[in-house]
């Protein structure tokens, strides 16, 4: 979805930035968006992640990003708890991303 949206709408992105904080996301607020996403997952929450994102993209966008992060905390659970598989076609389509991000080491790969 990330690469599809970026390529279709002419917004270049480096997908490695999802995994490596030092890489330039080439997306407005990218670094702060990823920091907020990580704060959603870790129980030792980064209480400043929302503030830093709001400084860059504005409060409304920061709140919307928090909603998306919360939603994916949910999506990840229903997918992992029910064994929803990635189709062969989608896996082939994402082969490069899987390789670049090392997703093959994930438990459900």
């Amino acid at each position: 979805m990330l690469r599809w949206s970026a390529e279709t709408t002419g917004r270049p992105i480096d997908v490695r930035a999802v995994a490596e904080p030092g890489i330039d996301h080439r997306v407005p607020g990218g670094r702060e968006l990823v920091a907020l996403a990580r704060a959603a997952v870790t129980t030792a929450a980064d209480g400043r992640a929302l503030d830093r994102l709001a400084d860059v993209l504005g409060e409304a966008a920061a709140v919307d990003a928090a909603c998306v992060a919360a939603a994916f905390e949910g999506f990840n659970r229903i997918v992992d708890a029910t064994g929803l598989p990635m189709t062969r076609a989608r896996r082939a389509e994402l082969a490069e991303v899987i390789e670049v991000l090392g997703l093959h080491r994930f438990p459900h790969a």
Partner: protein, 205 residues
């Protein structure tokens, strides 16, 4: 910071909280709230609350809430053999919604919502007709394999969970739009957040 999400999200959270305190399809309201409380405790790393809940249900709620990537087909089969497939699916929905609501509150600097009092009544035990088939997944969800279908065995839980997820992310129809905007956020920014959360959770899907 203490910011509030937009109205459609807060309305869905209100509905979710009300629904958690109602008898479900397979669990009573007291049991649903016990599942919710167990999931919350597991997320914040505190001891499970003293609730009258089967130890298998506690294990399922804790694992899904705090360690979702640890699930395996065999683990789910063992849980399902003890709880039943439909009760397990309802439990997944309850845990999912508590995780969504609590995560959002934490990110926004809001207090965790107290759970409401359980409402009396018995579970409806409604089985969808026709019952979804099981194709390659660990629980039956039909032959269309996508996240919105995962809870198909318990239609009420599926509908309400999907409503909350769509309010926080986007409607299923909007997913076809690569240029979608959620307020000031462009689809690429939205998907960057989605990808980063999934990566941090080691969620392969």
């Amino acid at each position: 910071m203490g910011l509030e999400p937009r109205t459609d999200v807060t309305e869905e959270i209100e509905l979710t909280w009300r629904h958690l305190a109602e008898p479900g399809t397979w669990w009573t309201a007291t049991e649903r709230l016990a599942i919710a409380d167990t999931a919350r405790s597991a997320r914040v790393g505190s001891s499970p609350p003293p609730v009258a809940l089967d130890h298998v249900a506690v294990e399922a709620a804790v694992t899904i809430a705090a360690h979702p990537a640890r699930t395996t087909r065999r683990w789910v089969e063992e849980i399902v053999s003890a709880l039943g497939e439909e009760p397990y699916v309802e439990l997944v929905g309850v845990v999912t919604r508590v995780v969504v609501v609590d995560t959002l509150a934490r990110l926004l600097g809001l207090d965790l919502r107290p759970f409401p009092a359980p409402r009396p009544g018995e579970p409806s035990r409604v089985i969808p007709d026709p019952r979804p088939v099981q194709v390659r997944t660990w629980v039956a969800m039909g032959n269309v394999l996508s996240p919105p279908r995962t809870l198909s065995l318990v239609p009420d839980e599926k509908r309400r969970t999907n409503r909350l997820l769509q309010a926080c992310y986007m409607t299923w129809a909007s997913m076809e739009d690569p240029d979608f905007r959620r307020g000031e956020l462009h689809r690429t920014q939205i998907e960057l957040v989605a990808a980063a959360v999934s990566y941090a959770n080691e969620c392969f899907y």
